[in-house]
């Protein structure tokens, strides 16, 4: 694998398609600067700012871009909001389309056949594997990502967080809660 990638990189560099320094910069950005913290800030803003949440639900691509997070693939972002009666979960049954600008790169399990196949067929069972049990009455809606449309789940704001500021709230928003395989955390007592 290593040799195949090096060969490809050499060919592309020699032909002027790739600048090795720019490549390293890109890798660094994805490993250290882009990541689920971006998404967490988006969710925390939505929790404290009703107008922003409304914008996010109507046009997530624009609302998220206003915070400085933009997609490289020109994809359309859709935010889906959890409520007491409705839980949202995101999958990409085809490959692993994922909202990179807000969540960084997908975790290994997101890319697995097991998750891709079972999220649609048995979302409640998948949630149980993640340690999440929802009331029977809660409807679970599964969203299948595509190359053009990516989804971001807005988890429910945990109870007892009324006094927290945006930064403290963002710390409660986990990556999994924005994929829908988890819930936002509760503040440490």
């Amino acid at each position: 694998m290593e040799l195949r990638v090096r060969a490809l990189e050499t060919v592309l560099t020699q032909k002027g398609y790739v600048d090795p320094a720019a490549l390293d910069e890109l890798i660094d950005a994805y490993q250290t600067r882009v990541g689920p913290r971006n998404g967490a800030r988006v969710v925390a803003r939505a929790w404290v700012d009703a107008a922003f949440k409304d914008w996010l639900r109507r046009d997530a691509t624009a609302a998220v871009a206003s915070l400085g997070y933009q997609g490289r693939q020109g994809e359309h972002l859709v935010a889906v909001e959890n409520s007491p009666g409705r839980h949202n979960m995101v999958v990409c049954t085809l490959c692993s389309c994922y909202p990179w600008p807000v969540l960084g790169l997908p975790p290994v399990w997101y890319k697995s056949t097991a998750y891709r196949a079972r999220a649609v067929r048995d979302p409640r069972g998948v949630l149980a594997d993640f340690g999440v049990t929802l009331p029977e009455s809660t409807e679970i809606r599964v969203w299948d990502s595509t190359a053009e449309v990516r989804y971001l789940v807005i988890p429910e704001r945990p109870p007892g967080t009324e006094g927290l500021d945006e930064e403290a709230l963002a710390a409660l928003v986990t990556r999994d809660s924005m994929i829908g395989t988890g819930l936002a955390g509760t503040p440490a007592p």
């Binding site: 694998m1 290593e2 040799l3 195949r4 990638v5 090096r6 060969a7 490809l8 990189e9 050499t10 060919v11 592309l12 032909k15 398609y17 790739v18 720019a22 490549l23 890109l26 890798i27 994805y30 490993q31 990541g35 689920p36 913290r37 490289r72 693939q73 020109g74 994809e75 085809l94 490959c95 692993s96 389309c97 960084g104 790169l105 975790p107 290994v108 399990w109 997101y110 890319k111 697995s112 056949t113 097991a114 998750y115 079972r118 069972g125 998948v126 594997d129 993640f130 595509t146 190359a147 053009e148 986990t174 990556r175 999994d176 988890g182």
Partner: protein
């Protein structure tokens, strides 16, 4: 069928995104070529989807651990399909890097030399 091997997967922001450096490079190459307009993102998703399906047909576990192998296969096929680089060129450089790796002492960075490109003795 249950969802296997969830326990050791990263559940928070820690944990490496790439398991090995080559995965990061394969990832960044695809993004760069897309930004250069070599292919559209739907074309990429289609190629990746086909690479994954083909690997599964060959018995790949497709549990996420081989994901970047599929990514690389998709990238190589698109590079060839778009006329950016031929299979022959890729093979040539793969062999050159192999020779460079063989002659480089353990621990030292591997670099291509003219002799590596020339082929074996």
């Amino acid at each position: 069928m249950s969802l296997p091997s969830l326990p050791d997967l990263p559940r928070d922001d820690g944990g490496p995104v790439f398991r090995e450096p080559w995965e990061a490079h394969a990832f960044a190459l695809a993004l760069t070529l897309h930004e250069r307009g070599v292919f559209t993102w739907p074309e990429w998703a289609d190629a990746l989807g086909r690479a994954i399906a083909a690997a599964r047909g060959r018995g790949d576990p497709d549990d996420g651990t081989t994901y970047y192998q599929h990514w690389l296969a998709a990238l190589e096929s698109l590079v060839a399909a778009k006329g950016v680089g031929t299979e022959r060129e890729l093979l040539h450089f793969r062999e050159a890097w192999d020779r460079a790796a063989q002659r480089t002492p353990h621990g030292a960075p591997v670099a291509l030399a003219d002799a590596d490109l020339a082929g074996p003795g």
